[in-house]
């Protein structure tokens, strides 16, 4: 039986409502299919829903978003998702890591996008509830403090703009006035949202339409529509940078990606104000969902690469240094070269790289050391694992050594068997669907949205070095006689300063993504943090760490305030990459000094358990805090008497404080 016969048989069983039988038939038909198409995924999800296997149904709905962008299939799938959630209160996606409320508003009809966004978010492990405003409501909603939008209490407000916004007064205004007015209009909306609530803002820029009166001359003519739209988009980007906390969805770029003829559909615009064609909506939903996930701190951190036939053509252990294909000269070698260059650009942006290859270590390293055409060098990798152990184990080892979650890894391998194994054994890892032809590798990487990020800081650019230092240190630690000697030998220096405009982006980023060393795991937006800073006796400390190997940048922070005559630690977290260095001693020590400067004798803190922060369960006890309360939800409250128990300090870190006591 051919694959399509098997699928037809499964579909027939589904029509007869023999869901159990249909599931078995689909399983058999799809056994060797890496990414089933969206319609098939929908059918399988329906069968699982029919037999009451809700988690499986949700898994297939998530898978559907990777199968293709057919709007009717997405629309039906999002309907099934809503039905499942409605019929099963409390049902949550099996892999959901964040939940949030999203308000969708803007200059065109968004009723169709809303459910698709919920579906796309499910696929990136975010459970969202979406409410949608009538089109054109965003100004009123933003400006009026008692609007429905604020009453909904959203975590994220998504604003979709359209080029028709600019056409209101084109004739009366000069070019500069049009641009200024349009930009101010939008930034005023952002600012009033900021004043009225703490929601994060996700706003599109404007996709320039197809028709352009000036044609090829347009970019040279200030009053051409395209020039005006590009000027508005540039101004929006500048304003977003100034204001902070606004994430732009670059629809000008993604409309070009799918093609503007596909992005715009004038019939549907005139019929029901669809600013983006249905054909393009799933793509837009996936991009928005990726940015929402990034807002929630779920950006993937590390790309794990196979070597043979992934980074170069051929097998180094068999073909030898001269035999592998990489560099200029033939199509295949150039395709691998192009892939390495694309990977390098990601690495330079802050994605960390690791090698996971079945090879002898020396063979695997040889091209990096000796082949003149390699773009990627050994220094670009935070970890290099080449051995004959299975890849699932090696990937777990990589995550553990770099101290990052398995769910922040992405795996690229040309071998479908390796990909299937990793998918099966480490399902938390995103596995890229590499095509057979290496010429397609770059596009797969470009289409993958897990690396989307909402901020870029100095720390990001330097990331590989920091993680490399970490694996080097792991080696050194193994060879140094005693831990104290080892820590002393690192010559660590900390700089502690209060929160300010310069470190705020990094602080917001850390609050969004720190899981393990995080005592309370409150996910605060910049607005929340600025509110907190205004509170009585508030102390906000951030800590930068450097050692003889590397500058780790800003790695830890504390937000505390005066509560019932104690310095109450509200949020305390640290980046995993410096765990074990006694950074917490240094920061807590500074907090003691701050508390005493305010005339306080006690520190107080809480621990709220999550799935990921068991690491710090006994952190307060370790410092000699007394447990004064245990609540039913697992939360514990701790107190430390500074006067009786003395100040705290790190034995290994030299601290330079820039905080006024």
């Amino acid at each position: 039986m051919t694959a399509s016969d098997k699928l037809a048989e499964a579909a027939a069983l589904k029509r007869e409502k023999n869901y159990q039988g249909a599931i078995a038939a689909y399983d058999a038909a799809l056994a060797n299919v890496e990414a089933p198409d969206e319609k098939t995924c929908l059918a399988v999800a329906q069968c699982h829903a029919g037999t009451g296997q809700k988690d499986k149904a949700l898994d297939w709905l998530a898978l559907l978003t990777r199968g293709g962008d057919d709007f009717p299939a997405w629309q039906a799938a999002s309907g099934l998702l809503r039905k499942l959630l409605k019929d099963n209160p409390g049902l949550s996606a099996p892999h959901a890591k964040r939940t949030g409320r999203v308000w969708l508003t803007g200059s065109y009809t968004l009723a169709q996008l809303a459910p698709l966004l919920q579906l796309a978010a499910l696929a990136v492990n975010v459970n969202i509830e979406v409410a949608v405003a009538d089109y054109g409501q965003h100004r009123q909603d933003a400006l009026s403090p008692d609007s429905q939008m604020y009453a909904f209490d959203p975590d994220v407000i998504v604003i979709a703009l359209h080029h028709s916004d600019l056409e209101r007064s084109v004739s009366d205004l000069s070019v500069q006035e049009t641009v200024t007015e349009a930009t101010q209009d939008v930034s005023m909306i952002w600012q009033s949202i900021r004043q009225n609530c703490k929601a994060r803002i996700l706003c599109t820029n404007i996709a320039a339409p197809l028709d352009e009166a000036f044609g090829h001359l347009s970019s040279r003519v200030p009053e051409s529509r395209r020039t005006i739209i590009h000027a508005v988009n540039n101004d929006l980007a500048r304003k977003a940078n100034e204001l902070g906390g606004v994430t732009l969805v670059d629809v000008e770029a993604i409309s070009a990606q799918i093609g503007k003829r596909a992005w715009f559909d004038d019939r549907y615009w005139h019929l029901s104000k669809q600013g983006v064609s249905f054909k393009a909506l799933p793509l837009l939903a996936r991009h928005m969902a990726a940015l929402i996930a990034a807002e929630f701190g779920l950006t993937k951190k590390c790309l794990v690469l196979d070597l043979d036939n992934t980074c170069w053509g051929g097998v180094i252990g068999e073909d030898g240094l001269a035999g592998i294909k990489i560099g200029q000269g033939d199509a295949k070698s150039e395709a691998f070269l192009a892939f390495q260059m694309a990977v390098k650009r990601l690495q330079q942006r802050g994605v960390i790289l690791a090698v996971c290859s079945k090879n002898n270590d020396a063979d695997a390293r040889e091209p990096f050391e000796k082949h003149p055409d390699m773009v990627l060098k050994l220094d670009d990798f935070a970890m290099f694992v080449a051995n004959w152990t299975n890849k699932a184990e090696n990937i777990k080892h990589i995550a553990k050594t770099l101290n990052i979650g398995l769910d922040s890894l992405v795996f690229a391998d040309d071998n479908p068997v390796e990909r299937a194994t990793v998918r099966e054994l480490v399902p938390e890892v995103d596995v890229l669907p590499m095509p057979e032809d290496p010429a397609g590798y770059v596009r797969v990487l470009g289409d993958y949205l897990g690396f989307e990020t909402v901020s870029y800081t100095r720390e990001d650019a330097n990331k590989t070095e920091q993680y490399r230092a970490k694996s080097r240190i792991a080696e050194m630690q193994a060879t140094t006689a005693s831990l104290p000697d080892f820590y002393k030998s690192l010559h660590m220096k900390a700089e502690i300063e209060p929160f300010n405009d310069f470190n705020m982006p990094r602080i917001v980023q850390l609050i969004g993504k720190s899981n393990q060393f995080n005592l309370t795991t409150y996910r605060y937006s910049e607005a929340d943090i600025r509110d907190f800073m205004q509170q009585d006796g508030a102390v906000n400390l951030s800590l930068k760490l450097a050692d003889k190997f590397t500058d780790h940048g800003l790695v830890s922070m504390i937000m505390a305030r005066l509560v019932e005559s104690a310095m109450d630690i509200h949020l305390w977290l640290m980046s995993c990459r410096v765990i074990g260095r006694t950074v917490e001693d240094a920061l807590l020590g500074e907090l003691c000094l701050q508390a005493r400067a305010q005339g306080l004798k006690k520190l107080r803190g809480s621990y709220i358990p999550t799935a990921k922060n068991a690491l710090v369960e006994t952190k307060y006890a370790d410092f000699g805090f007394d447990c004064i309360a245990k609540l039913d939800d697992g939360k514990t409250i701790w107190e430390y008497d500074i006067e009786k128990q003395g100040d705290i300090s790190s034995p290994y870190i030299a601290v330079n404080t820039r905080v006024e006591a």
Partner: protein, 77 residues
């Protein structure tokens, strides 16, 4: 597949109802959930399945499923 079968599948997908069976005298009022939102989704799904475009809002002018089938046949023959 006949126009009837294909159209039936389109309706089942748009209205997410495997039990939905079309008949010629059916109208929008007979189908659960056929509101203005579903209408526009349906229009797109039919256009995509059969590869033609409704002029303006022609879909809304058609009195019943029988007329819709005849219209599709006239466009695709």
């Amino acid at each position: 597949m006949s126009t009837e079968t294909r159209l039936n599948e389109v309706f089942q997908t748009v209205f997410l109802d495997d039990d939905l069976e079309l008949s010629d005298d059916m109208t929008a009022a007979d189908v659960d959930g056929w509101d203005s939102l579903a209408h526009i989704n349906l229009m797109f799904a039919i256009e995509q399945e059969f590869g033609f475009q409704f002029p303006g809002n022609e879909l809304a002018e058609l009195p019943n499923i029988g007329a819709l089938k005849a219209f599709i046949d006239s466009k695709t023959r």
